[in-house]
Amino acid sequence: MHSIAETAGLIAARKISPVELAKTALARAEALNDQIHAFIRITPEPALAAAQAAEARAASGSLRGPLDGIPIAHKDIYCTAGIPTTAHSAQLKDFIPTEDATTVRMLAAAGVVSLGKLATHEFAFGGPSFDLPWPPARNPWDTTRFTAGSSSGTGAAVAAGIIMGGTGSDTGGSIRGPAALCGIAGIKPTYGLCPRTGILPLAQTLDHAGPMAWSVEDVALLLQAMAGHDPADPGSANRPVPDFHAGLAQGVRGKRIGVIRHFHESDNPVSPATLAGIENTIAVLRAEGAVISDITLPSLAEYNATGWAIIYAESFAVHEAWMQSAPEKYGEYMRHRLALGALMSAADYIQAQRRRADLITRSIAATQGVDLLITASAMGEAPPITAVSKWASLEKPGFTMPFNVLGWPALSLCSGFGEAGLPVSVQIIGKPFDDASVLAAGHAFEKATAFRATRPAI
């Protein structure tokens, strides 16, 4: 399968037809969905109409850019006009939005061909669940394994080679977790870079929209289309958007990279293969010209305590009315996680926001001497899907939450393969609005290694 960047060149040269590309992708989606349940809904008619429009633009030499005619799909918390948007929940089983989410509109304007709506944890929070109207997505590397969540369908569909990219959302790691376990790339951009208007919220002060794709280069192309100011999103930043694809060429020469070794070695020790992947990433980036040092941040537990207190409180506030009127329409995991927020006090939430401000101050001070950070994005390979605890987030502190709390850009990418042959991953983090350097580092690693040549056998 070609990358988005390669396919764009082939479409422009009229060597690939967007319509044929869409038909092949739709057929693969239909063929594989019984195994991996990545799609809640496949939408052939609008997909083919969009592909035909892209083909007409290719014929007339008026392509809109590198995403024109590229098959993607949207996480089913992104509102799509005229197409049901369910959040993978019985609560919204029949909800048909009248408007697209801002990012759906932005991607459509870039010419993408959306194949449909992708599985998620219920409202990006409750999963993996087996008591919802649709089954949870399965990992294409081994369909008995977890995809991570909540952008589970996007992770599965990209890894399976059905779509070339897709949308995700990330409140505590919901882009980077599935990217890690499915062996793909995904960025949680800087808070405020991508508009969230029209995306069903989980916890507004931590919610981020962002792209996922097979490679970092493809993530950069998708991010370009999703980034920009949206006056309708109060968290949206009004600042120029850099050229992320062009920025990939900057590499890492001279970049100062801090390794947050205590996160993945002592705060929450990772698997041997994950640790080896992190060390290899460090070695590759050093060979590419980066200057590596170890740095110390506040503990992983402190960031997670802060982030989860905020998520439980804000998500309960979002869902309070339905928790009172129809709690039985949620799956068990979602209902219980929301109910935990109902037990918290106003002071709990306010203390969490105060601690968040304190963490931001301390993290800025601790990272004065570096440009980028490296740590794990997941503990190891994907676990069996039936072995995921309802309260996993309370059992061990995750590696992704710190950067939701801080709002800093963070990328997960494949760093190799583990003992069971499944992907392992690494996380590269940057300073606010320096998403371009994060992507450049990830791209430098992928160019220097061969891990993108191996796809799941499904």
């Binding site: 802060t306 989860w308 309960f316 209902r335 219980h336 109902a342 037990l343 401000a357 059992e395």
Partner: protein, 62 residues
């Protein structure tokens, strides 16, 4: 902060207007006990001498 008793869990849920079966309340009680250390950990900053950025919003022109 001590763990919540069964009756305290029921009372807080009732205050929030939520009805859950007893077995689910028991599960929730155990989860809350897991959350408590986190809630204690974030109670760090003392009484602030001034307004704090996290809890201050701006009125007026952008």
């Amino acid at each position: 902060m001590p763990p919540l008793s069964e009756s305290e869990i029921a009372a807080r849920l009732a205050t929030a207007g939520i009805t859950l079966p007893k077995i689910e309340q028991d599960d929730l009680r155990a989860a809350y006990a897991m959350l408590l250390p986190a809630l204690e950990m974030i109670r760090g900053p003392g009484i602030p001498p001034a307004a704090e950025p996290a809890l201050t919003f701006a009125a007026g022109e952008k």
